[in-house]
Symmetry: C2
Protein backbone atom coordinates (compact mmCIF):
# COMPACT_ATOMS: atom_id res chain seq x y z
CA UNK A 1 0.00 0.00 0.00
CA UNK A 2 1.07 3.56 -0.49
CA UNK A 3 0.06 6.91 0.85
CA UNK A 4 -0.67 9.34 -1.97
CA UNK A 5 0.96 12.75 -2.10
CA UNK A 6 -1.06 15.92 -2.42
CA UNK A 7 -1.02 16.13 -6.21
CA UNK A 8 -1.74 12.44 -6.78
CA UNK A 9 -4.60 12.61 -4.30
CA UNK A 10 -5.99 15.73 -5.93
CA UNK A 11 -5.81 14.12 -9.39
CA UNK A 12 -7.53 10.95 -8.19
CA UNK A 13 -10.20 13.04 -6.51
CA UNK A 14 -10.84 15.29 -9.51
CA UNK A 15 -11.25 12.26 -11.80
CA UNK A 16 -14.09 10.91 -9.66
CA UNK A 17 -17.71 10.97 -10.80
CA UNK A 18 -19.30 10.75 -7.35
CA UNK A 19 -18.06 11.78 -3.92
CA UNK A 20 -19.39 11.67 -0.38
CA UNK A 21 -19.69 14.85 1.64
CA UNK A 22 -19.43 14.84 5.42
CA UNK A 23 -20.60 17.86 7.37
CA UNK A 24 -21.06 18.26 11.12
CA UNK A 25 -24.03 19.83 12.87
CA UNK A 26 -23.92 22.22 15.82
CA UNK A 27 -24.15 19.26 18.24
CA UNK A 28 -21.13 17.51 16.71
CA UNK A 29 -23.09 14.88 14.80
CA UNK A 30 -21.86 13.98 11.30
CA UNK A 31 -24.09 14.10 8.24
CA UNK A 32 -23.20 12.22 5.07
CA UNK A 33 -24.54 12.42 1.51
CA UNK A 34 -23.33 11.45 -1.95
CA UNK A 35 -22.66 14.37 -4.30
CA UNK A 36 -21.66 15.02 -7.88
CA UNK A 37 -19.02 17.69 -8.06
CA UNK A 38 -16.31 19.52 -9.95
CA UNK A 39 -12.85 20.57 -8.82
CA UNK A 40 -11.66 24.00 -9.93
CA UNK A 41 -8.25 24.93 -8.59
CA UNK A 42 -8.34 24.27 -4.87
CA UNK A 43 -12.12 24.38 -4.56
CA UNK A 44 -14.75 21.67 -4.89
CA UNK A 45 -18.21 22.72 -6.04
CA UNK A 46 -21.51 20.87 -5.86
CA UNK A 47 -25.00 22.09 -6.62
CA UNK A 48 -28.12 21.77 -4.54
CA UNK A 49 -31.29 21.05 -6.44
CA UNK A 50 -33.28 24.25 -6.74
CA UNK A 51 -36.74 22.72 -6.82
CA UNK A 52 -37.75 20.51 -3.90
CA UNK A 53 -36.32 21.87 -0.67
CA UNK A 54 -35.34 18.47 0.53
CA UNK A 55 -34.44 18.12 4.19
CA UNK A 56 -31.13 16.47 3.42
CA UNK A 57 -30.05 19.33 1.18
CA UNK A 58 -31.00 21.98 3.67
CA UNK A 59 -29.19 20.09 6.39
CA UNK A 60 -25.85 20.07 4.66
CA UNK A 61 -26.09 23.81 4.06
CA UNK A 62 -27.17 24.58 7.62
CA UNK A 63 -24.32 22.43 8.92
CA UNK A 64 -21.73 24.28 6.86
CA UNK A 65 -23.02 27.61 8.15
CA UNK A 66 -22.82 26.33 11.75
CA UNK A 67 -19.49 24.54 11.26
CA UNK A 68 -17.53 25.05 8.04
CA UNK A 69 -15.26 22.00 8.56
CA UNK A 70 -16.10 19.41 5.91
CA UNK A 71 -14.53 16.29 4.47
CA UNK A 72 -15.17 14.90 0.99
CA UNK A 73 -14.18 11.43 -0.20
CA UNK A 74 -13.76 9.77 -3.59
CA UNK A 75 -13.02 6.07 -3.57
CA UNK A 76 -12.65 3.13 -5.88
CA UNK A 77 -13.76 -0.31 -4.72
CA UNK A 78 -13.36 -3.61 -6.55
CA UNK A 79 -14.81 -6.69 -4.94
CA UNK A 80 -12.57 -8.99 -6.94
CA UNK A 81 -9.31 -7.12 -6.56
CA UNK A 82 -8.44 -5.42 -3.31
CA UNK A 83 -5.07 -4.44 -4.75
CA UNK A 84 -7.04 -1.96 -6.88
CA UNK A 85 -8.59 -0.18 -3.89
CA UNK A 86 -7.82 3.50 -3.63
CA UNK A 87 -9.30 6.68 -2.26
CA UNK A 88 -8.71 10.39 -2.12
CA UNK A 89 -9.96 12.79 0.50
CA UNK A 90 -10.33 16.55 0.58
CA UNK A 91 -10.55 18.33 3.91
CA UNK A 92 -11.46 21.98 3.99
CA UNK A 93 -13.97 24.69 4.71
CA UNK A 94 -17.39 24.91 3.13
CA UNK A 95 -19.36 28.00 2.19
CA UNK A 96 -22.76 28.41 0.57
CA UNK A 97 -23.10 30.50 -2.59
CA UNK A 98 -26.48 31.79 -3.73
CA UNK A 99 -27.43 30.75 -7.29
CA UNK A 100 -26.80 34.21 -8.71
CA UNK A 101 -23.23 34.47 -7.33
CA UNK A 102 -20.67 34.64 -10.18
CA UNK A 103 -18.72 31.70 -8.66
CA UNK A 104 -21.94 29.70 -8.46
CA UNK A 105 -22.72 30.38 -12.11
CA UNK A 106 -19.19 29.41 -13.14
CA UNK A 107 -19.38 26.25 -11.03
CA UNK A 108 -22.69 25.24 -12.59
CA UNK A 109 -21.15 25.73 -16.04
CA UNK A 110 -18.43 23.26 -15.02
CA UNK A 111 -20.99 20.80 -13.62
CA UNK A 112 -23.00 20.98 -16.83
CA UNK A 113 -19.84 20.31 -18.84
CA UNK A 114 -18.90 17.31 -16.64
CA UNK A 115 -22.31 15.67 -16.26
CA UNK A 116 -24.62 15.00 -19.18
CA UNK A 117 -27.53 14.72 -16.75
CA UNK A 118 -26.81 18.18 -15.34
CA UNK A 119 -26.72 19.46 -18.92
CA UNK A 120 -30.27 18.17 -19.43
CA UNK A 121 -31.43 19.99 -16.33
CA UNK A 122 -29.22 22.83 -15.21
CA UNK A 123 -29.02 23.07 -11.39
CA UNK A 124 -30.85 26.16 -10.18
CA UNK A 125 -30.21 26.13 -6.45
CA UNK A 126 -27.38 27.26 -4.17
CA UNK A 127 -23.86 25.96 -4.70
CA UNK A 128 -21.70 24.51 -1.97
CA UNK A 129 -18.05 25.49 -2.33
CA UNK A 130 -15.38 23.66 -0.35
CA UNK A 131 -12.03 25.40 -0.13
CA UNK A 132 -9.61 22.52 0.27
CA UNK A 133 -6.81 22.83 2.77
CA UNK A 134 -5.60 19.23 2.54
CA UNK A 135 -5.67 16.58 -0.19
CA UNK A 136 -4.76 13.10 1.00
CA UNK A 137 -5.19 9.59 -0.27
CA UNK A 138 -4.24 5.98 -0.21
CA UNK A 139 -3.81 3.22 -2.74
CA UNK A 140 -3.39 -0.51 -2.21
CA UNK A 141 -0.20 -1.98 -3.59
CA UNK A 142 -0.28 -2.30 -7.35
CA UNK A 143 0.05 -5.85 -8.59
CA UNK A 144 3.56 -6.56 -9.78
CA UNK A 145 4.50 -6.73 -13.46
Amino acid sequence: MSVLGRSAARALFAAGRVARLATVDAEGRPHLVPIVFVVDGETIYSAVDGKPKRTTELRRLANVVANPAVSVLVDHYDDDDWTALRWARADGAGRVLPPEHPQARAAVDLLVAKYRQHARERPAGPVLAVDVTRWSGWAAAEPMG
Copy 2:
Protein backbone atom coordinates in the same frame (compact mmCIF):
# COMPACT_ATOMS: atom_id res chain seq x y z
CA MET B 1 -37.73 10.51 -6.22
CA SER B 2 -38.76 8.76 -3.05
CA VAL B 3 -37.63 8.73 0.53
CA LEU B 4 -36.95 5.19 1.72
CA GLY B 5 -38.51 3.85 4.88
CA ARG B 6 -36.45 2.31 7.63
CA SER B 7 -36.61 -1.28 6.43
CA ALA B 8 -35.99 -0.45 2.77
CA ALA B 9 -33.05 1.73 3.76
CA ARG B 10 -31.65 -0.99 6.00
CA ALA B 11 -31.97 -3.61 3.23
CA LEU B 12 -30.27 -1.35 0.68
CA PHE B 13 -27.51 -0.63 3.17
CA ALA B 14 -26.92 -4.26 4.11
CA ALA B 15 -26.65 -5.27 0.44
CA GLY B 16 -23.77 -2.83 -0.10
CA ARG B 17 -20.19 -3.99 -0.57
CA VAL B 18 -18.49 -0.74 0.44
CA ALA B 19 -19.61 2.08 2.70
CA ARG B 20 -18.18 5.36 3.87
CA LEU B 21 -17.73 6.06 7.55
CA ALA B 22 -17.87 9.60 8.93
CA THR B 23 -16.57 10.26 12.43
CA VAL B 24 -15.99 13.58 14.18
CA ASP B 25 -12.94 14.57 16.18
CA ALA B 26 -12.90 16.44 19.49
CA GLU B 27 -12.65 19.76 17.62
CA GLY B 28 -15.76 19.05 15.54
CA ARG B 29 -13.92 18.22 12.32
CA PRO B 30 -15.27 15.33 10.23
CA HIS B 31 -13.14 12.37 9.15
CA LEU B 32 -14.16 10.16 6.27
CA VAL B 33 -12.93 6.76 5.09
CA PRO B 34 -14.27 3.90 2.96
CA ILE B 35 -14.97 0.66 4.82
CA VAL B 36 -16.06 -2.87 4.13
CA PHE B 37 -18.66 -3.97 6.63
CA VAL B 38 -21.39 -6.33 7.71
CA VAL B 39 -24.78 -5.61 9.22
CA ASP B 40 -25.93 -7.89 12.02
CA GLY B 41 -29.26 -6.91 13.52
CA GLU B 42 -29.08 -3.22 14.27
CA THR B 43 -25.30 -3.05 14.36
CA ILE B 44 -22.72 -2.41 11.63
CA TYR B 45 -19.28 -3.94 12.06
CA SER B 46 -16.01 -3.15 10.32
CA ALA B 47 -12.52 -4.37 11.06
CA VAL B 48 -9.36 -2.38 11.43
CA ASP B 49 -6.27 -3.91 9.95
CA GLY B 50 -4.20 -5.40 12.71
CA LYS B 51 -0.80 -5.00 11.10
CA PRO B 52 0.23 -1.51 10.11
CA LYS B 53 -1.07 0.98 12.63
CA ARG B 54 -2.04 3.42 9.97
CA THR B 55 -2.83 6.96 11.05
CA THR B 56 -6.19 6.93 9.36
CA GLU B 57 -7.29 3.81 11.20
CA LEU B 58 -6.21 5.09 14.55
CA ARG B 59 -7.97 8.35 13.86
CA ARG B 60 -11.37 6.82 13.32
CA LEU B 61 -11.05 4.88 16.57
CA ALA B 62 -9.85 7.89 18.55
CA ASN B 63 -12.71 9.94 17.14
CA VAL B 64 -15.31 7.39 18.18
CA VAL B 65 -13.93 7.34 21.70
CA ALA B 66 -14.04 11.14 21.85
CA ASN B 67 -17.43 11.42 20.12
CA PRO B 68 -19.46 8.28 19.44
CA ALA B 69 -21.76 9.96 16.89
CA VAL B 70 -21.08 8.44 13.47
CA SER B 71 -22.75 8.29 10.09
CA VAL B 72 -22.26 5.55 7.50
CA LEU B 73 -23.37 5.74 3.87
CA VAL B 74 -23.93 3.23 1.08
CA ASP B 75 -24.74 4.62 -2.32
CA HIS B 76 -25.24 3.56 -5.89
CA TYR B 77 -24.18 5.90 -8.69
CA ASP B 78 -24.73 5.45 -12.41
CA ASP B 79 -23.29 8.06 -14.73
CA ASP B 80 -25.65 7.11 -17.52
CA ASP B 81 -28.85 6.86 -15.54
CA TRP B 82 -29.57 9.26 -12.74
CA THR B 83 -32.97 7.61 -12.25
CA ALA B 84 -31.00 4.69 -10.80
CA LEU B 85 -29.32 6.76 -8.09
CA ARG B 86 -30.02 5.66 -4.56
CA TRP B 87 -28.42 5.69 -1.15
CA ALA B 88 -28.92 4.49 2.38
CA ARG B 89 -27.53 5.99 5.54
CA ALA B 90 -27.08 4.66 9.04
CA ASP B 91 -26.71 7.09 11.91
CA GLY B 92 -25.71 5.80 15.28
CA ALA B 93 -23.14 5.41 18.00
CA GLY B 94 -19.76 3.80 17.53
CA ARG B 95 -17.75 1.74 19.98
CA VAL B 96 -14.41 0.00 19.65
CA LEU B 97 -14.12 -3.71 20.40
CA PRO B 98 -10.74 -5.33 21.09
CA PRO B 99 -9.93 -8.27 18.77
CA GLU B 100 -10.54 -10.86 21.48
CA HIS B 101 -14.05 -9.59 22.35
CA PRO B 102 -16.70 -12.23 21.52
CA GLN B 103 -18.66 -9.70 19.44
CA ALA B 104 -15.48 -8.84 17.55
CA ARG B 105 -14.80 -12.50 16.78
CA ALA B 106 -18.38 -13.02 15.62
CA ALA B 107 -18.18 -9.89 13.46
CA VAL B 108 -14.96 -11.05 11.85
CA ASP B 109 -16.61 -14.40 11.07
CA LEU B 110 -19.34 -12.47 9.24
CA LEU B 111 -16.79 -10.33 7.40
CA VAL B 112 -14.88 -13.40 6.31
CA ALA B 113 -18.12 -14.94 5.03
CA LYS B 114 -19.06 -11.79 3.10
CA TYR B 115 -15.67 -10.90 1.60
CA ARG B 116 -13.49 -13.40 -0.18
CA GLN B 117 -10.49 -11.11 0.38
CA HIS B 118 -11.08 -11.08 4.13
CA ALA B 119 -11.25 -14.86 3.99
CA ARG B 120 -7.76 -14.93 2.49
CA GLU B 121 -6.48 -12.74 5.29
CA ARG B 122 -8.58 -12.72 8.41
CA PRO B 123 -8.64 -9.27 10.06
CA ALA B 124 -6.72 -9.32 13.33
CA GLY B 125 -7.25 -5.83 14.70
CA PRO B 126 -9.95 -4.07 16.69
CA VAL B 127 -13.51 -4.01 15.39
CA LEU B 128 -15.62 -0.90 15.12
CA ALA B 129 -19.25 -1.51 16.03
CA VAL B 130 -21.90 1.05 15.13
CA ASP B 131 -25.22 0.69 16.94
CA VAL B 132 -27.67 2.18 14.48
CA THR B 133 -30.39 4.45 15.79
CA ARG B 134 -31.68 5.59 12.39
CA TRP B 135 -31.76 4.04 8.92
CA SER B 136 -32.69 6.44 6.16
CA GLY B 137 -32.38 6.55 2.42
CA TRP B 138 -33.39 7.98 -0.89
CA ALA B 139 -33.97 6.67 -4.36
CA ALA B 140 -34.47 8.55 -7.60
CA ALA B 141 -37.74 7.93 -9.38
CA GLU B 142 -37.83 4.55 -11.01
CA PRO B 143 -38.26 4.70 -14.79
CA MET B 144 -41.82 3.90 -15.81
CA GLY B 145 -42.85 0.57 -17.29
